[in-house]
Every structure is written in C-alpha cells, then in structure tokens.
C-alpha cells in the first residue's frame, strides 16, 4: 500500500460514506454553504471598507449641525476651540470667500466621491479629463461655477439628493455644501472638514458637544455605519448556521460511530496485522476529514448560486465566493477532526478477539 493507494482508498471510503448517508451529510453541506455566505458578506464588507478608507484621510473629522443657523460667533468659537488642537481649515459664514480653501475643498470632494464609488454608489467615474464634483444645489444654481484644482476642471453636478438619495444617507447630513460658493448668501454652510489627529477627535467631539450640541463624526465611522445592514444579515446567518452546525455535528458523530460499529471486523483485522492506536486514530481522522471535504466540495459548488440568490434578494454588495477563506477552512477541518476523535478512540478500543470463531 503506497501513500497514493492510501489516499485513493480513503477517498473511496469517504465517497461510500457520502453515498450511504447523503441526506444527513447534505445538512453539513448546507451549514458550510451558510459559512461561505457569512465569509462572503464579511470579506466583501471588509474589502469595501478598506477600499473606501484608502480615499479618506484618517485624521479627518466631519462636523455637522443640521439645518441650524451658523453665525460669525459660532465660526469664531469653533475656530478658537479647534485651533488649539491643531491646524484647522478656514471656517466662515462670509460667503464672499470660500469656507474651505479651494484645494482642500476639491480634494475632499474627490475623496468623498471616490469613497462612494468604492462603496458601489452609482456615480460617474472621476478618472476623466473633466472631473465631477457634487452639490446639493439645484442645477440652475450652479451654472456660474467654474471649479479648477491642480489643472483639473470639475463639472459641478447639482441636485444631488434627487440623483441619488443614498448619498444623502452616506454623507450624514440633510443639507451640505459640497462645493465652496461665492455670492450664495441664501445657503448656510453646515459641513466642514478638519485636519486633525485621531487622538484628539474625542476631545473635539466632547468640546463641541458640550458647548454647542454639535455632532462630530469621522469618515471611518460613517463608512462603518454604512455596513450596519450587513451586521444584521450576518447575525441572521450565524443563527441559522449554528443550528445547522449543531445538527450536522450530531449527525456526523452518529454516522462515524455507526460506521465504526459496522466495521469492527475490519478494525480487528487491522489490529491483528499490526496496526497501532495511532494508525487507527489517524485513519479515522483522515476518513472523517475526507467526508467533510466531500461535503465542502458540494457546498463550494452550490455556494455561488446561494451568493447570487442573496444578491438578488437583498441587493447586497457581495463578492461571489466559490471557496471559504483559509481561516474558515481551518475552523471547519479543526471541528471535523475534533468530532472524529471520539469515533476514532472507539475504533482504537476494538477487541480483535471478535475475529475468533467462538
């Protein structure tokens, strides 16, 4: 018996086990499909967040105070509060000049839209000779804007809320001045970008909350909140998966135990031929893992269908996964090995005297 023979034989046994207990083992495949779906949701969300985070500066905070008037006094107070903590963008209610300096304003627009593109918002791609910036203003209010930054012209698109309501949720404010304006005094600046270190964000948040009841948030927090529906879905899937895993584990252990019971003469023969405890333990652990491998192969075949169905039903931003991740594979085979230990121990305890005629 060569190692190739051994593997071939083990595969044969695994296939026989699968054929004999197809229905029970399919439950395990279902559990694996759900694990792959969980993996797909988690990995997709992580990837989207990572991609989105590339486009934002981690030391930024966004300041919002929804729809309230913003006076010169407010501006001065904020400036004073924040300037003690680091460099602050110009903040102004005097619309004769920009509330942001132009370069940062445009950079922020670019970053935000890139970030949103990464999160699969249906925006136009910015990699064109003519860039796009976004505004909540109605289209007839923006005709006079001619935005340029680093030799790049930006076409300002108005009516953002009409174009895509999802953007409004994402930017977390009802009225936002996306594009610095001249001579538009009827509008109120309600959103500011601040360059600052992460360590000071809590201090800024506390300061502004106590003094003015203003909300301070960070781009990362907003992106994470964007991921909240995924968390609810994950909770649902984990609940189902735990039930499937528990019933699958019970089925699996029962199948392996009855398998060992029915193969006692064979085990006794192996002992008589010189098999030691570790040979039998290894054999049954390999066999159990091969059964799990077959269940996993089925779930890998079916999981793209499940992913596609989930995308269709929930409109989720999901990468279709064909295989579980390495960490999931390690978890699956560790559980399989653990579950096979008791049946393997039972095999090791077989008394070879049962081969004798009386």
């Amino acid at each position: 018996m060569t190692p190739q023979n051994t593997l071939q034989v083990s595969l044969r046994i695994g296939y026989q086990q699968w054929s004999a207990h197809r229905l029970a083992l399919f439950m395990i495949s279902l559990a694996f499909i759900m694990l792959i779906l969980i993996d797909a949701i988690t990995v997709s969300a992580e990837r989207h967040i990572q991609e989105a985070a590339k486009h934002i500066s981690k030391d930024q905070i966004w300041l919002s105070f929804y729809g309230r008037d913003f006076s010169d006094e407010h501006s001065r107070q904020i400036h004073q509060s924040l300037s003690t903590l680091g460099r602050v963008c110009p903040i102004s209610v005097n619309y004769d000049h920009l509330p942001f300096d132009s370069s940062q304003g445009v950079a922020w627009i670019y970053a935000s839209s890139s970030c949103m593109l990464t999160l699969n918002f249906p925006l136009q791609n910015l990699n064109t000779s003519f860039g796009y910036a976004f505004s909540t203003f109605s289209p007839d209010q923006i005709n006079h804007l001619n935005l340029r930054h680093q030799n790049q012209s930006y076409n300002v698109l108005g009516g953002l809320e009409v174009r895509n309501p999802a953007l409004r949720n994402f930017i977390h404010a009802t009225h936002i001045i996306w594009v610095p304006l001249l001579n538009t005094k009827s509008l109120k600046p309600t959103h500011f970008i601040l360059d600052h270190t992460q360590a000071s964000i809590d201090e800024i948040r506390a300061t502004l909350k106590n003094a003015h009841n203003w909300e301070v948030t960070s781009p990362m927090k907003i992106i994470t909140e964007h991921n909240q529906p995924n968390q609810d879905l994950l909770f649902f899937f984990w609940s189902l998966t735990i039930i499937a895993i528990l019933s699958g584990a019970a089925n699996f252990t029962h199948i392996m135990l009855s398998n060992i019971q029915s193969r006692q003469p064979e085990i006794a023969l192996r002992i008589m031929l010189g098999a030691k405890a570790h040979h039998l333990l290894l054999q049954f652990i390999i066999e159990s893992n091969l059964v799990i491998f077959i269940c996993l192969a089925w779930s890998c075949l079916l999981s793209p269908i499940a992913c596609a169905a989930l995308i269709h039903l929930t409109n989720l931003q999901l990468d279709i996964m064909f295989f579980p991740s390495l960490r999931m594979l390690i978890a699956i085979f560790s559980i399989g090995s653990l579950l096979s230990l008791y049946p393997a121990y039972m095999a090791k305890s077989t008394n070879p005297k049962l081969l004798f005629s009386s």
Partner: protein, 216 residues
C-alpha cells in the same frame, strides 16, 4: 519454535478452567492440529498463543521469547513481525480490492511486499483474474484463499489458524489445509490449526485433542 508449559486458563466468572496444566511444544517445520468440540478451548488457546488474552498460569515461549514478559505493545510488535493468523470468517476489507487486501500488512509493518510475489501467489492459486476485484465479487473459497495469500506473503515464522476451513466445502478445505502444511515444511515455520475435521487434522504432524472441562 512454540513451547507451552503448564498453561491454565480460567475465566473469572467460570467455575471450571477452560484447560489446566496444558503443555506441548512444536518445532520449526512442524504443524499441529487443535481438535475438539465447540467450547473445548481451541479459540481460547489460539487467543493465548497470539497474545490477545493472558493465561491464568503457565508459560508460552514463541521463537525463544517468553510471552509472559512482554507488554501489550511488545506482543503486538511480535505478532506483526513473526506471526500471521487465519480466521474462519473471511477477513477481507470490503472496500479494498484483492491486491490492496493482500498488501495491507505492509501499511503497518516494515515488511515490504513485492507485487511480483503477489502475482506469483495469485497465479499459483489460479486467482490472477480476480486481482483487481473487490471482495463482494469473490466466492467464499476464493476469498479465503486471498486471506491465505495475505497470511503467507509476509513469510511469518508462526501461523495460527482458527478453523480456517469451517465455512468451506471439502475440496476447498483440503486445498487450504494442504497449503498451510506445505508452507510449514518449505519455510520451516510452526503452524497450529484449530479444526473440527479429524480427517484434515490427520494431515498435520501432531494432533492435540481438547476436551471441555465440564464434559470430563
């Protein structure tokens, strides 16, 4: 080769020993038939000789090694190295084909089994056509002969057979018996065969008749 001194075996809940003060010896190249009715202790004696059971008293010396002094692990090693067993029931692994069944011992011992040796044995027993078949495709006689090939292919020094012909028709039984006794002669091995069949037992060099203790 095989020496048994004053061997007694009594099960804890039994009032009579299975046998008491049993002594015999068997030299290399000799065969012995263990005869007796059911319950006379033939399988018990085989179990003691292969180290699966321990005697109440007495001594077993196999190949100059006292079994009494060996641990379970050492007995297992000794068994794998020097001994082979044949059973009444067909002991083929159902999901291994004939060649895989025959070479199975090489998985657990350092004994190398050449495929040419296997082919030679299969040809000798007219079983070459079933080389890649599975046990369920074989007749009982064929399966038992495959078991015998697996037993002999590792060239054991001691063969213990527990009613190997019990489930076979007379021609097959005679053939198996003949093979075992021939092997014993040509390889200078010690062979002990438990059997009900006195006519077959007479083919062996020695016969040991065991009587149930409660029948005495």
């Amino acid at each position: 080769m095989i020496k048994v001194n004053q061997l007694t075996k009594q099960y804890p809940k039994s009032s009579h020993p299975v046998f008491k003060d049993l002594s015999f010896s068997l030299d290399a190249g000799q065969s012995m038939a263990l005869c007796g009715q059911s319950g006379s202790g033939k399988s018990t004696l085989i179990g003691l000789l292969c180290g699966l059971d321990s005697a109440t008293s007495g001594e077993i010396i196999l190949n100059n090694t006292s079994f009494h002094d060996l641990s379970l692990e050492e007995k297992s090693d000794f068994r794998a190295k020097f001994m082979s067993l044949v059973f009444q029931q067909v002991t083929l692994v159902p999901y291994l084909n004939v060649i895989e069944n025959i070479t199975l011992p090489s998985l657990y011992t350092d004994k190398k089994i050449d495929e040419s040796d296997v082919d030679h044995s299969l040809k000798q027993m007219n079983l070459m056509s079933v080389k890649y078949q599975f046990p369920h495709e074989l007749s009982i006689g064929q399966a038992q002969r495959i078991c015998l090939i697996r037993t002999l292919i590792t060239r054991p020094k001691i063969i213990l057979a527990d009613e190997p012909t019990g489930a076979l028709d007379p021609p097959n039984a005679a053939f198996i018996f003949q093979l075992l006794t021939d092997y014993c002669k040509t390889n200078q091995a010690g062979v002990i065969i438990a059997t009900h069949d006195w006519s077959l037992a007479e083919q062996c060099d020695h016969q040991l008749w065991l009587t149930p203790r409660d029948a005495k």
